[in-house]
Amino acid sequence: MRPKKTVLLTLLVNGQRHEVAAPQHHTLCEVLRDKLRLTGTKQGCDKGDCGACTVLVGGQAVLSCLTLACAVDGPVTTIEGLGGRGTLDPVQDAFDKCGALQCGFCQPGMMISARGLLDENPTPTIDEIRNALSGNLCRCTGYTKILEAVLLAAAHGNDVDQSYNDMRRDRVAVSAFPDVPPGGGLLIIGQGKSQ
């Protein structure tokens, strides 16, 4: 193994300047997780196949596991930097509200991709959301509630709870899927009879 050469990097992460010494061959993902202890950014596949390590660099959703730390050119936003002080980003709030978070491991990357999309396109269609999230693999949810959450975050940023109730009442989320017959949706049958 060749000797490592360490460099001093200046990174602007979540609005804060960090001076960090890291080996020249380390990726942004390694620096965020190992040096800055920002462990919200995950790694799932080692090499750019799963999207769990997605962060925003200069507002663009990119994979931190394929980005050399010394090549970073612009402010970095990780999941820890999405919300404000003590408040959630509407994307985070909507993911929580919709039950889009199961094991939660792919979700930091997923939420970052969603934020990147909404910054460019505040009112995306369901197909635009599907496209924007197509580089983030989720193994738990079947994506259904994730898509619902991004629609919710896009539709009403400020009061997610109220919007969720409105959305479910109006079935905005589900009717945004093609081919859903009207009147479908949650059916609760207690004791075997329809309510």
Partner: protein, 335 residues
């Protein structure tokens, strides 16, 4: 996680500085690798396929991004990202097939990182090559890296790893040229001459060269262009097969035609299409006649090899299907 072996990085801020650095390191006997978006180089570093002592990161070199119309050509900076390419109005207007090809590369994050230059210089891919060191060691390594045996073609002496770059397929159809910068100066060459039929290294790019620009001639007459990509998933995947098609029509007849099939072997396969020049291309049936002939030709000429896990008979069957799809795309009848 997979870690890379250590290397040094250089971050030049001009093209001249970049090529000078490359030349200096080469002269000192140090191996180098140029990196821009990193989407191909970094996985290959993690797999131990590349083992450079020095990485020259060109992402901060100014003037290599963006698309300009010089009247006769679109001049596309090599650092233009695939995402920017896919949504650029000039590209959509004058090279819609290229915009489409760029929009189908990998997933959204990789398109925002990956550059056109990087895609054109993409290393060839093979089931037996794009794997970890451990995996390749268990395999007994291969012709392309660390070994002497081809696992695709028994007894094969020529590497058949596949060109897997979506944009190259389309740019070849568009008669694009590439501009290379070396310490000795700039040279422009046809993209067709940029690729060679050697899977170990399928371009003429030298270690001291920097791909700086792509020149795409604008259409002189009415043009139809389409790109079709075969893959299992609608995102992330490399092509199992790709087809680019361009038909120029002047006075109701074909004035120029190109069809390139790729992801077969090391060099994108350009089909001879001159036979169709002068053929009527106005009415539906005339057009279908052209594509039917093209499908036959493509099927006869393109024989996929087992460089992917997928069934080669099926991949070959798909050549015809993809030619039709590229054609449908070109004439705006894609479903």
């Amino acid at each position: 996680m997979l870690r890379m072996d250590p290397f040094l990085t250089e971050t030049p801020t001009s093209v001249d500085e970049a090529v000078a650095l490359l030349a200096a390191h080469q002269a000192a006997g140090r191996s180098t690798k140029v990196i821009a978006g990193g989407t191909d180089v970094v996985p290959n570093l993690k797999h131990g396929l590349f083992d450079p002592e020095v990485i020259v990161h060109i992402g901060r070199v100014p003037g290599l991004k963006g698309v300009v119309d010089d009247g006769g050509h679109l001049l596309i900076g090599a650092l233009t990202t695939l995402h920017d390419l896919s949504v650029h109005p000039l590209v959509q207007q004058h090279a819609s097939g290229l915009a489409r090809a760029a929009s189908l590369v990998a997933g959204p994050q990789l398109r925002r990182m990956g550059t056109l230059g990087g895609n054109l210089a993409l290393d060839t891919r093979c089931l037996f090559y794009n794997q970890t060191y451990f995996w390749r060691e268990a395999l007994g390594f291969c012709l392309k890296k660390d070994g002497s045996l081809c696992h695709v073609v028994a007894g094969g002496k020529k590497c058949v790893a596949a060109a897997s770059n979506d944009t190259a397929t389309m740019l070849l159809c568009l008669d694009a040229e590439v501009v290379l910068q070396a310490p000795t100066g700039r040279r422009t060459m046809k993209l067709e001459d940029f690729y060679v039929a050697n899977g170990i290294k399928n371009t003429v790019l030298e270690a001291v060269d920097l791909l700086v620009q792509v020149r795409v001639p604008k259409a002189a007459s009415r043009r139809f262009e389409g790109y079709a990509k075969l893959r299992h998933r609608n995102a992330i995947d490399y092509p199992l097969l790709s087809v680019g098609l361009r038909v120029d029509v002047d006075g109701g007849v074909v004035s120029a035609m190109r069809c390139v099939v790729s992801a077969l072997q090391a060099r994108p396969h350009k089909l001879p299409c001159d036979a169709w020049i002068g053929r009527a291309f106005e009415h539906r049936q005339e057009r279908q006649d052209v594509v039917d002939g093209l499908k036959q030709l493509a099927f006869a000429k393109c024989v996929p090899v087992k460089n992917l896990a997928d069934d080669v008979v099926w991949r070959r069957e798909m050549v015809r299907v993809l030619v039709q799809r590229a054609f449908d795309e070109a004439i705006g009848e894609a479903s």
